[in-house]
Subunit: 345 residues, 2 copies
């Protein structure tokens, strides 16, 4: 039996049987816990080393615990999960892969930089709607200290940050998807193209990623035939203060006004002035932790019904930057709706 | 309309309508061209810099050209391809992502180290069988010089290689999948777990990966209920001479004798003694280039009908090794069969 095509437009698919996001879990570090969204996260760790001897091992532990707790909160076991889609920012996905050796879950490693939350969510949803899985997990993580060491300088160096710089979030988020139940569901997925607009300043990733976010948002709206006002919230991952404003302006130029419904996880997660985070939060764990807590919570509480989540990634490496390359960006959009059917299971 | 479940066993899915591998393309460097499989590759470049100013940019160009030529040889255009699944060994997937900015193809970045060929093939096939795509591409690349710099030492250092070391292949492979036609097809996919058996020697990756390969092969045979003799060829990605022998012995201990039908791309691609490649080839491009040329060719020529392809990845990074970690491995298996229906389109 062949499924009818689910493709609508060039970059978008519509789910035949929208997979449900049954549980989420989010864990963040102390700084994130002290930010404006502190009370929304499932767990705030007091020590961002989690008792481990390196930041990379800490990041791995953060990821591991987040995934395990997402499974537990669904009253499921590891053996029930058919696939895990996950990735992180570290070279060779160190934190994700090392945590995954302690799971008995078939593993697909992804790299989408900070777009990993919606990249993984896209594939996790398609596995279920495609008939390949009953339960899947989409998860990702980042850690401020391991990222600083890898992308910029070790903390001990005490380098000065630019106003456009963003602060990599120490945080992880996991979403557990299934086929049934009265939960928010994934309805559409718009997969991004890699877009490069010539930005070279790796201290201004918001500006590099904003065009990719705009490109995917516009394609999503065109492919679905929806106006921007269809959504109660359009949320990008980590464009931060600078990237957020660029995004609004670029969308307005194309005739889309989302100012009243637009949020950016990087812009929300810190109080930039008080916490010294310049242009806001970034990292895979940024959209992951905020989406899995704050925005999923808004859906569950029925404060919003229709969410468009767009995690955004800056696909550069220290090597590419040193070789004078510009910074390509990518953004993947997932439409999540909660059509509460009053407890029907 | 919901599809019947395609799951058989814990780690395996069976395609409802097996996607067809319509074309492949493979490009390799001069050393690979001089090896035993030289005449099978679609293209051998004379200069492994491809005229670019860095090895990373050369690797990116190799990947770009391979994908474009796979599309052209199917008489298709970029716009016809719904998704590309791709990855490489470099930090932040530098070569793949930078090439992808020149494609207008929705992009999913993957990291599975040297398992990327079958990781990408798995997802590319599932997208079609799941009803999300008409055409997809699975592709990957590696480059000796960029890998040496990243994982070991710059070439100028002149370091001495251990007998168990492998030689990263300069090569790329792309497979283009579609729904119809008289072509080899993907029938089953067994997705691997991340397995860590405590090997710490990053100069002996074959030993680290062999247990993961064995685990996936055994799971595949158990899940499908097939004996090992079902297949005409069981092919691993890059276990090399050392890893290949370990694999055979580990399988024999579990009651599977595949000695007569077992091949390893890393073991085949070089003449280790003449070419000084110690324990054989490795890298994403190893299984990709050899599978896309030599083994795909054997299917097309009907020398074999049933192929089990298992790309194998060693999921360590220089950072993890320096922190005293062992080397986790992963292997993804894809069953490819050519049931030639006599030209029916």
């Amino acid at each position: 039996m062949n499924c009818d095509t689910k493709r609508i437009g060039n970059q978008t698919v519509k789910m035949k049987n929208p997979p449900k996001i049954i549980t989420t879990y989010s864990m963040v570090g102390p700084k994130e816990g002290e930010g404006p969204l502190g009370k929304y996260f499932h767990e705030v760790v007091k020590d961002d080393t989690l008792g481990k001897e390196s930041y990379e091992k800490a990041e791995s532990e953060l990821f591991y615990q987040t995934v395990i707790k997402a499974i537990e909160s669904a009253s499921l076991k590891e053996e029930d999960i058919n696939y895990i889609f996950a990735g992180d920012l570290l070279n060779q996905l160190t934190s994700t892969c090392f945590a995954a050796r302690d799971f008995n879950i078939p593993f697909f490693g992804l790299f989408g930089a900070c777009s990993t939350m919606t990249e993984s969510l896209s594939l996790a949803a398609m596995m279920i709607d495609g008939g390949f899985a009953d339960y899947t997990i989409a998860a990702t993580v980042s850690h401020f200290s391991s990222s600083e060491r890898q992308f910029r300088f070790p903390l001990e160096y005490g380098s000065v940050r630019k106003p456009t710089s963003q602060w990599t979030v120490t945080g992880a988020g996991a979403m557990l998807l299934g086929k049934e139940g009265n939960f928010p569901e994934v309805t559409h997925i718009t997969t991004g193209l890699v877009k490069d607009y010539g930005i070279k300043d790796s201290n201004n990733m918001g500006a590099a990623m904003a065009p990719a976010a705009v490109d995917t948002i516009v394609k999503h709206l065109e492919d679905t035939g929806r106006g921007e006002k269809y959504y109660d919230a359009i949320v990008t991952g980590d464009l931060g203060k600078v990237g957020k404003e660029i995004t609004l302006q670029l969308l307005e130029k194309q005739g889309y006004n989302i100012r009243d419904i637009y949020y950016d996880c990087g812009d929300l997660i810190f109080d930039d002035e008080k916490q010294g985070t310049n242009s806001g939060g970034s990292g895979c764990g940024c959209s992951a932790s905020v989406a899995c807590s704050y925005f999923y919570g808004k859906l569950i509480n029925k404060e919003i019904k229709k969410l468009l989540l767009i995690s955004t990634g800056a696909l550069m490496s220290p090597t590419s930057t040193q070789q004078g390359e510009s910074i390509p960006g990518i953004a993947h959009a997932v439409s999540i709706e909660f059509n509460d059917n009053g407890g029907e299971k």
